[in-house]
Symmetry: C2
Subunit: 442 residues, 2 copies
């Protein structure tokens, strides 16, 4: 496992920058401090965004294959207009009657299987996961949480302590259990489901033996921070059933896969043919406006709501709702899922073609427009694989294309463009990746 928590970042002294930038960074460090890290060896600065493109102060265009928050494209004019229009009329909170709040909640719930019919709004994905854990603990009466071995679920105290991805310095809860995924362990597809389920059963047994019990299996169904492990479809189903048998809830963290990124479905869990008890939403829900939600089954949601007040000042305010409503309308009207599926397939085909010519690509995985591309040939040591991935990412950044890395060893390219990505953008990305591979690996 990487000891550097954010390998793809600027390190003072490593890169010589123009005075304008180094002076700004010095001021930044002086007031924002160590929590704030800049992406890329040579940080980027953008003054304008439009669709798939970001522009720096000199007018240079960068193709965005990384940002999943503006999934309808940067500064989508209809989304911005919906937000501005509502903000100029009224921003009511949820303690006032507000038809738009109810309308949107109903529209949102309709995109889920019938069993899932309740929603509580939040402002961020972290708040969604934090709330979902609270609900699961009330509903189950248990405290234990099962996550994947390199999971990241957010920043609050309760979710940080079930996020092994944050590294050794952030203490894990005594109530969390990590399970290895079949993919990174090299388990063949036909044994993946059994491998996954067996570990979950073993984790539950251990939690029970200690009187902790299982409150929830909390997973991102495309396992993005573990390195994008999406196949085989359905491999999580037996594990989900085991958690329910043990009295726990299944929480699908859809902050990354949700709202159509996987292309074949609106929600990532659908790929696996399972229906969660609770689903957590965030990032692309408002195309950048801070809004999230917990969507779930009536039983646990009502049980929690009846006994524990949950009042989130900003969450569900009319401006956020109007913005998210515009996003959902455009997502359907512009057939964004179909585009994510088609462009994802096109990208994958291009990558597979490239892998035949460059042995720097070890494996390719994707669901729609979330792709993981493992760097370096089989047998390369971990540090070498990570070094190559970082070199490729930064060569592409210098070439005007934005991606980053993921996975336990951070040697997987994380390719996650806005969902409006077209084949013309895919071609530009593929050409840039090819140049980077030639430059880095020869």
């Amino acid at each position: 496992m990487s000891t550097d928590l954010m390998p793809n970042r600027y390190r003072p002294g490593e890169t010589v920058l123009p005075a304008r930038e180094s002076q700004l960074i010095a001021r930044r460090d002086g007031v924002l401090g160590a929590s704030y890290r800049l992406q890329y060896r040579r940080p980027v600065h953008f003054v304008r965004g439009e669709g798939m493109w970001l522009y720096d102060p000199d007018g240079r265009a960068y193709l965005d294959f990384y940002n999943n928050v503006p999934s309808l494209g940067h500064c989508h004019p209809e989304v911005t207009a919906a937000m501005a229009e509502q903000a100029s009329q009224i921003s009511a909170n949820t303690r006032y009657l507000e038809p738009r709040l109810v309308d949107y909640a109903e529209r949102l719930v309709e995109t889920f299987p019938n069993e899932i019919d309740r929603v509580v709004f939040t402002c961020t994905g972290s708040e969604s996961n934090d709330l979902a854990l609270r609900v699961a603990r009330y509903a189950s009466g248990n405290e234990g949480v099962i996550v994947s071995s390199y999971a990241y679920h957010g920043t609050s105290a309760a979710v940080a302590e079930v996020s092994p991805n944050l590294g050794d310095a952030v203490k894990l809860s005594p109530n969390v259990r990590m399970i290895a995924l079949p993919g990174p362990e090299g388990v063949p597809d036909d044994q993946a489901a059994d491998f996954f389920e067996a570990q979950i059963r073993s984790a539950i047994q251990d939690l029970n033996r200690r009187g902790i019990g299982v409150a929830a299996l909390l997973i991102d169904s495309i396992f993005s921070s573990d390195g994008v492990w999406v196949d085989p479809p359905g491999f999580i189903a037996g594990g989900v059933a085991a958690v329910r048998e043990g009295g726990g809830l299944f929480i699908a963290d859809e902050v990354q896969p949700g709202f159509g990124r996987t292309g074949d479905h609106m929600w990532g869990f659908e790929r696996h043919g399972v229906v969660p008890d609770l689903v957590t939403l965030g990032k692309p829900m408002g195309n950048g406006y801070p809004i999230g939600a917990v969507v779930g089954r009536q039983g646990p949601m009502e049980l929690f709501g009846a006994i524990a007040r949950y009042s989130n000042t900003f969450a569900g305010n009319t401006v956020g709702i109007a913005t998210a409503d515009a996003v959902l309308t455009i997502l359907k009207r512009d057939r964004i899922l179909q585009n994510a599926l088609a462009t994802g397939q096109y990208l994958r085909a291009g990558l597979e073609q490239m892998a035949k010519q460059h042995d720097g690509i070890r494996a390719i995985r994707n669901a729609g427009l979330f792709l993981g591309v493992d760097m370096a040939r089989e047998g390369t040591p971990a540090a070498g694989r990570r070094g190559m991935a970082l070199d490729v990412v930064n060569a592409m950044r210098d070439d005007g294309v934005l991606i980053s890395t993921t996975g336990a060893n951070e040697d997987t390219l994380k390719v996650r463009p806005p969902l409006v990505c077209q084949t013309e953008h895919a071609d530009l990305f593929l050409a840039s990746l090819e140049r980077a591979l030639v430059k880095v690996a020869g």
Copy 2:
């Protein structure tokens, strides 16, 4: 203590509503569920907001003396324009170089005493308090938290468990200690500081005896959910010193008093002549846009930032920063603090005059434009006091003026208008309160 967690609310069956509203409420209950409660016996519905006023679908105007989020007034055109303009240009995250982020962080920090020079952005006050507790626990190496006996600090798991205000159904942490405030206990002003400090020393001793230690004293310096207890200035200083002696940090929760509400200062803690280690911000920071922050001393902030990654997707995005920047500019340019102080004094004088004529007013407390008005004459049983407060609040609602209740017994009127409140608005409020007192108490 009240057994009803939100006494001022709509209860199905208690009020007969028009079909349009009761149908909407039925749909609302069906999708949003039990977590969502409507304020007032007869819920309100607004379609337009402007300055101090909210308008219902029939065009009826309501004077807002309750909402502290839009502290510059509802739908402030300059704030909305700043948000819309930035959203149409770029919304960059904090991993990209962004001069506006640094500029605003510097401007914000300048409003604090010199010792406080670092900022980390969040999206909500709950996220701010959750992060501040994480920082305090890392910096102190301890786990214990001291709060006031009816404190509310937010919705995340970690802050809910140190928020006794949430009631018996929400379990408190074994690491939290509650202290009674001198005011509600009837302690004279000249003994208030000693009373406060003695309890804190006793709490620390108990935490140490159990090996928990004290990580933080977490208080809202106007103790809004305890019923607005602001005097005597300085009474918390000895308790703060005791916490530091014990190895803990002082966290000032400025979500309610901050950004000038107390009128005499930008930050509520300044009233007490103390300098916190960490300060948490939220509600009015973006006049409604979801943005908050933890501002603090370099020592604990850098210690946390260096070891624990804190990456909050939406927090510090350029749109939120541009919005908060416009708020700070207007706050200074329009002399909002001076207005809060002057109008607060005017309101208090009017209330004191009224108290001479109506024995329904037991006590009046305020700091700037946060006022607490205790209902019912001395000796009235708790249920009677709460009932009167609720009757007054709902009579005023029917009269077109919005306030609510606070305090352990919810028998204190919570009067908290936007900070642009003028004497003409104060006059309207006072006249409505007088009508309500006559109606309710005769």
